[in-house]
Homo-oligomer: 666 residues x 2
C-alpha cells in the first residue's frame, strides 16, 4: 500500500479522533472506522471545488450518520474548504462552525444537516431526483450540463430507520443510478452488537428494492472500495456498497465495541491507537507535510473541474440561450418577473370551494410560469389536489415529469423533498392529509432547522373532513406545527387567501412553509365587502368591522372557521354589538410584524376576544388574553358527516354568538 | 366450490358494500377484494369467542388497512359479536359503534385502532411479542395457558410505510412465529396501479427480514389460502402470505381500479356486482338464512374453545397457584398491593442526579414488584437508563427477557409497545431521546386516541443535553406532546418528582404517559424545606413560599428549570420580594384538578408571573396571563457544553431575577 495513502487516511482518522478528544465529547468510532471509505470517495471519485462549495454541478456528499461529523470536518479542512484547523479545535463549542452534528448553511461544504438517523439517506435520494430531473430538462446532446453523482456514507442506524426504507424503495423504483451509498457496516450500535437487533439480510433487502449491491470485505481496502465505486457508477440502478469496517479502528480495547461509538476515546486509548497505527503521539491535530500537500492538490483539481464545466456552460449559453437563462435563474433561486400575475382572483361565492381545490388551481397556474415548481403526494394526489395537469409523472422512463408518486411513504417523501430543495434549481412540494404530518415531523424539523424552503401541502385539516373519523381528523396538528421554530404555517380561509398562501410559500425561499387546507367547501368571501386577501401576508388582519361604533368584541378565526365568525359577527351587529372580525391565517407571519401593526389588529383596550379554530386551543391564549375565550377542540373528533361534527363540537354561528354574549355579559 | 361457502363470502362482501353505499362514504374496495381471505381466517383458523371478546387467550385479528372497516364490522356482526345489523346501517354516523376506521374500545371485537397505515402491522408485532413473553413466563409443561396467533390483513400502504418496515425487521429478528399476515396484494393504491410507485420485490424483502413468505395466486381461493395458513402455523418464522386479490371484486367497471378504493360504489355499480356474483338485488344488507346459521355456529364453537381453555386454566390454578394468581392479576390490569412502597425517597443533594438516572432507578425498583413492567429503548439503552438489571434481553432464545433492543426504529418501537399494551398482561415502555418523539408521533397518537396506557421515556429533554447540538435538542417537543389530547406529559424537576412521575404513569392504566427527563444532573430538592414531591400528582403545586408576605410574584417552572427558579426566588426574597415558587411538571394533571385548587396555586390577584422552561413558550400564556412573561426558547439551540447554552439562552438566576424586577417595575 502506498505510504502516502496510508498517511493521508490516518491523518483523517486522527484529526477526527483528536477533535473528539479535545472537545471531550463526540463520536470517534465512525470517523476512525470509515476514514478509508471517505478517503476513497473524496480522492478518487468526488468532483468538487473547495473554493466554490456551491458549484452547481458538483457531486454531492452526504454523511448520513451525522454523529461522525468530525470525519466531515476533517475532510473539509484537509481538502481546502474554508474550515481551519482552529475550527476543528473548536469542535462542539459555542459559535463554532463545527457543531456536534453537521448543519447545512453553517459550514462550507456541508450539503445537508444530518444526525437524526435516516434523514441523510433520504435527502440524498432527493438530491439524485433533482439531478435526474434537471438533467432531463436542460441537458442537450453534447451538453451534459447537469451531470453529477450523490455519494453518501450510511450507517446501521440509517438502514434501520423507516424513513430510509421508504426512500430506498422509492429510489429503487425510480432507478436513480446516480446514487452511490457506502454502508459503514461495522456490526456495532449503541446497544452493542448488531446481532442484538439487526440481523436481517441487508444486501438482500436492497436487492429486493431494485438496488445494485456490492460487498467489500475490508473497509480499509482502498482499491477494493475504489473498484466497487467504479462498478457502481456504471450500473443503471442505485448502488449500495456494503463495506465491512471496524468502529474505532485502531483503538486498543474499544475498537469493535459500542464504547467506541459516542464517547471520547480518552488519552490512553488514543495513545494506544496512535502507537498501533504508527502515528506520532505529538502534536495533536498532526498533519504530515506530504499529506497536507497531497490534499491541497485537490484545490487545483477542483478549480479545473469547475473551469471545464464553465467552459461547457459558456458554449451551452450560446447554443441554448433560453434554456441557459432559465436554468441560471433557477439555480440562483430567483423568481421570474410577474410570476404571480396570472394567479386567479376569485369572485364572492357563498357556495364556495374547498381550499384544497383552490390550492390545486394555484399550483397549476404557478406551474405554467415556474418550471421549477414540482412535487407530489404520498399516494393522495386526487385528494390533495397536487397534480400538475400540464406535466406527467416523474418516472425512470419520464425523468422530466414534474409530478411525483411518492407512494404511501410520508416520511420518505418529506426527506426526499428536503433533498430536492437543498439541491437547488427546484421549488418542491410534498402533500398528504394534515393528520399524517405526524409521520413527517422528523424531516419537517430538519427543513426548519436548516432553512430549507420545502413546501408542505396538508389537506383535510380538521374534523371538517367528516366521516373518516378521528384517526384521520387532525386536532393537535395545527398547534404542533406552529410549535416548530422557523416553519411558516398558513391556514387560509377561502380561495383568495389560498392564492396568497401560495404566494407566501413561493416567496419564502429561506424556510419551509406548511399550507393547511380544507376538504370541505368554504365560502369565497366578498372582498368588496371585506379587506383584501393579500393582507394574509401580515399573518392576521381586520377582515371586517361590523357596526358603527368602536368594536366591543373581536372574533378571531382561521381557515374554515372564518366564514363562521363573519356570520356570527353579522348577527351580533344585528343585536347592536359592534364586532371586529379578524382573519388569522398565520401566527408566524403575524409575529414578524411590528408591534404597532399588531396593536392595530388587537388594540389593548378591546379585551373581549374569542378565537374560533377547529383544532385544540393551545397557544390562542396569547391572542385572546385573560378576558377572552376560545372555541376550539377539547379532544379528538368523531366519525360523521362534517356538518354534524361542526355542530357537535360547537363550531356554529349560534354557539359563537351565545359565547360572545356571555363574554359581554349580555 | 361449496355453495354455502360462496354465499357466506358474498354475504361478507355485500354487507360491506351495502354499508358503504348506505353511508355514501367509505371504502368498498378492500372488503370486496379480501372477503375470501377474511372468511378463511375467521372460519378455519381464528380462535375467538364472540360472547367474550376479551377472552385472554383468543387469537388476535388486526385489520391493518383500517379503511376497510366495513369488512371488520360485517365479520363482527355475522360471527355473533355485539354489533347489530342496525349498527352496520349506522356506518360512519355520529355516535355509532361503526366509525370510519375501527376504534379500539368502542366496538366489541376491534382489537386495535387502525387507519393510519403501517400502525396495525406494527401493533400486531407487539401483540405477538406479548404472547411470546407471557407464554415464556407462565406456560408450564402440559399447560400452554398462553398460546395464540396474531393474524392480520395488511395492504400495499402498510407495506410501504416505514413503521411497518421497522416492525417487520424486528419481528424477523425475533422469529415471532405466531405472526401470520395476509397481504391483500391488489395492485392498486389511491394514485392508481402499484406500478407507479411500488415495484420492489415484496416477497424478497420479507425473506430478507427473515420472514417465511408464501404466495397465493388467487385471493378468492379459500383452499389455497387455508393451505398457506396451515403451512405458516408450522413455520418457526413470522409469515407473510401474499394473496393476489382484486380490489372491488365484482364491480363491473371499477374492479381493479383506484376508484374502487375509497368511494361508495354507486347504485349502478353495486347492482352490477350483485348481478355478476348472482346476489339478490334486494333487500340490501341481505343475509341468506343458511349463511346466517353457518356463521352463528361460531358462537358455540367459540364458547367451547374458551371453556376448554377455562378447564385447562382451572387445573393450572391448582398446580401453579402462584403463577396463576399473578397472571390473573396482570390480565385484570390490577397492581399488587403496596407496589409503590419500595420506591426510593431521595435526600436533599445539591450536586444532584440526572432525572434520567432517577428514572432508571425507579424502573429497576418497580421491576422487582411488577413483573409486567417490561420495555426498552430504540438503541439508546445506556443513555435512556431503561435497562432492567435483574432480567435479560428479550430474544428468540430468551423469550422471558424483559429488556428490548428495539434497534434504531423509534416509530416501530412505539407501535410495537402499543401492541404489547393493548394485548394485556403487560405494562410496556419505550424510550428514546425527546427530540426523536417526532419519529413516533403516528403511534403516540393512536395510543392517546385509543386509551392505550403505553409509557414513553424521553430523555435528553432540552438544550441541557449540550454538545450534540440543535439536531438533538428538543425545543418544540414539550409543547407538541402537550398538544396531543389524552396524552399525559410529565416533566419532573428532580429525583423525587421522577419517582412520582413513574407512580403516575403506572397508575394511569387508561391513557399513555410521556415522562420527560434530563441528561444533566438536577439538584435533589430538600423536601423538608419545600412541599412534598407527591404533589406532582396534582400537576402543579406550590413548592415553596419565599418571604413573609403575600407573594408579589409567582415563578413557575418545570424539570431542570425548577431549581433555577428556586434560586432566583431566594435572591428575590433577599431583596425583600416575597415570591411563590410553583413546580409545574404536568399541564394535563393540573387541568384535571378542580378550579378551587387551581386558584390556590395561581390566585387571580397575583398577576406578576414568570414561567421558565427550556422549550418554546407556546401555551404558557394560559398560566402566566396578560401581565406575566415567559423565559423560554425562541428558536433552535446550539452545540456547546450545556452550562454555556443555559447562559446563552437566558436560563440563569440573574436573568430570571432581572426579568422579575422588570415585571414588578423595581
Amino acid at each position: 500500500m502506498d505510504t502516502l495513502q496510508e498517511k493521508a487516511i490516518n491523518t483523517i482518522r486522527f484529526l477526527s479522533a483528536d477533535g473528539v478528544q479535545r472537545a471531550n465529547s463526540g463520536h470517534p468510532g465512525l470517523p476512525m472506522g470509515a476514514a478509508a471509505i471517505a478517503y476513497t470517495i473524496w480522492t478518487r471519485h468526488l468532483r468538487f471545488n473547495p473554493h466554490n462549495p456551491k458549484w452547481f454541478n458538483r457531486d454531492r456528499f452526504v454523511l448520513s450518520g451525522g454523529h461522525g461529523s468530525m470525519l466531515l470536518y476533517s475532510l473539509l479542512h484537509l481538502f481546502g474548504y474554508d474550515v481551519s484547523l482552529d475550527d476543528l479545535k473548536k469542535f462542539r463549542q459555542i459559535d463554532s462552525i463545527t457543531p456536534g452534528h453537521p448543519e447545512f448553511g453553517l459550514t462550507p461544504g456541508v450539503e445537508i444537516t444530518t444526525g437524526p438517523l435516516g434523514q441523510g439517506f433520504a435527502n440524498g435520494v432527493g438530491m439524485a431526483v433533482a439531478e435526474t430531473q434537471l438533467a432531463a430538462q436542460y441537458n442537450r446532446p453534447g451538453f451534459d450540463i447537469i451531470e453529477h453523482f450523490v455519494y453518501a456514507i450510511v450507517t446501521d442506524g440509517d438502514l434501520m430507520e423507516g424513513v430510509a426504507s421508504e426512500a430506498a424503495s422509492f429510489a429503487g423504483h425510480q432507478k436513480l443510478r446516480k446514487l452511490i451509498y457506502l454502508y459503514d457496516d461495522n456490526h456495532i450500535t449503541i446497544d452493542g452488537s448488531t446481532d442484538l437487533a439487526f440481523t436481517e439480510d441487508r444486501k438482500a433487502r436492497f436487492d429486493a428494492y431494485g438496488w445494485h449491491t456490492l460487498k467489500v470485505e475490508d473497509g480499509n481496502d482502498v482499491e477494493k472500495i475504489d473498484a466497487a465505486i467504479k462498478t457502481a457508477k456504471n450500473d443503471p440502478r442505485p448502488s449500495l456498497i456494503l463495506c465491512r469496517t471496524h468502529i474505532g479502528y485502531g483503538l486498543p480495547t474499544r475498537q469493535d465495541t459500542a464504547k467506541a461509538h459516542g464517547e471520547p476515546p480518552g488519552a490512553e486509548e488514543l495513545k494506544g491507537a496512535k502507537e498501533k497505527l504508527k502515528w506520532p503521539l505529538e502534536p495533536n491535530f498532526f498533519i504530515p507535510e506530504d499529506a497536507r500537500k497531497f490534499f491541497q492538490g485537490y484545490v487545483e483539481i477542483g478549480r479545473s473541474l469547475e473551469l471545464a464545466w464553465e467552459d461547457k456552460r459558456t458554449r451551452y449559453v450560446k447554443e441554448f440561450p433560453n434554456e441557459a437563462g432559465e436554468l441560471e435563474r433557477r439555480v440562483k433561486g430567483a423568481l421570474p418577473e410577474e410570476w404571480d400575475k396570472t394567479l386567479p382572483d376569485y369572485p364572492a361565492d357563498q357556495k364556495g370551494i374547498a381550499t384544497r381545490v383552490a390550492s390545486g388551481k394555484a399550483i397549476n397556474t404557478l406551474a405554467e410560469v415556474l418550471p421549477e415548481l414540482i412535487g407530489g403526494s404520498a399516494d393522495l394526489a386526487p385528494s390533495n389536489n397536487t397534480w400538475i395537469q400540464s406535466s406527467q409523472a416523474f418516472q425512470a422512463e419520464m425523468p422530466a415529469g414534474r409530478n411525483f408518486h411518492f407512494g404511501v411513504r410520508e416520511h420518505g417523501m418529506a426527506a426526499i423533498v428536503n433533498g430536492m430543495a437543498v439541491h437547488g434549481g427546484l421549488i418542491p412540494y410534498g402533500a398528504t392529509f394534515l393528520v399524517f404530518s405526524d409521520y413527517m415531523r422528523g424531516a419537517i424539523r430538519v427543513a426548519a432547522l436548516s432553512n430549507i424552503p420545502s413546501i408542505w401541502v396538508f389537506t383535510h385539516d380538521s374534523i371538517g373532513l367528516g366521516e373518516d373519523g378521528p384517526t384521520h381528523q387532525p386536532v393537535e396538528h395545527i398547534a404542533a406545527l406552529r410549535a416548530i421554530p422557523n416553519l411558516s404555517v398558513i391556514r387560509p380561509c377561502d380561495a383568495n387567501e389560498t392564492v396568497e398562501a401560495w404566494k407566501a410559500a413561493i416567496q419564502n425561499r429561506h424556510n419551509p412553509t406548511a399550507i393547511l387546507l380544507t376538504r370541505q367547501a368554504c365560502p369565497v368571501l366578498d372582498r368588496n365587502q371585506t379587506s383584501s386577501a393579500n393582507l394574509l401576508q401580515r399573518g392576521a388582519y381586520v377582515l371586517k368591522e361590523l357596526g358603527n361604533n368602536q368594536p366591543e368584541i373581536i372574533l378571531i378565526g382561521s381557515g374554515s372557521e372564518v366564514s363562521l365568525i363573519l356570520n356570527a359577527g353579522e348577527e351580533l351587529m344585528a343585536r347592536g354589538i359592534s364586532t371586529r372580525i379578524v382573519s388569522f391565517p398565520s401566527w408566524d407571519l403575524f409575529e414578524k410584524m411590528d408591534p404597532e401593526y399588531k396593536d392595530t389588529v388587537f388594540p389593548k383596550d378591546i379585551k373581549a376576544r374569542i378565537a374560533v379554530e377547529a383544532g385544540i386551543g393551545q397557544g390562542w391564549e396569547k391572542y385572546v388574553g385573560d378576558s377572552g375565550k376560545t372555541i376550539c377542540m377539547q379532544g379528538f373528533g368523531a366519525s360523521a358527516p362534517y356538518q354534524t361534527l361542526m355542530t357537535r363540537f360547537g363550531f356554529t354561528v349560534d354557539n359563537i354568538v351565545s359565547s360572545a354574549l356571555q363574554l359581554l355579559n349580555k
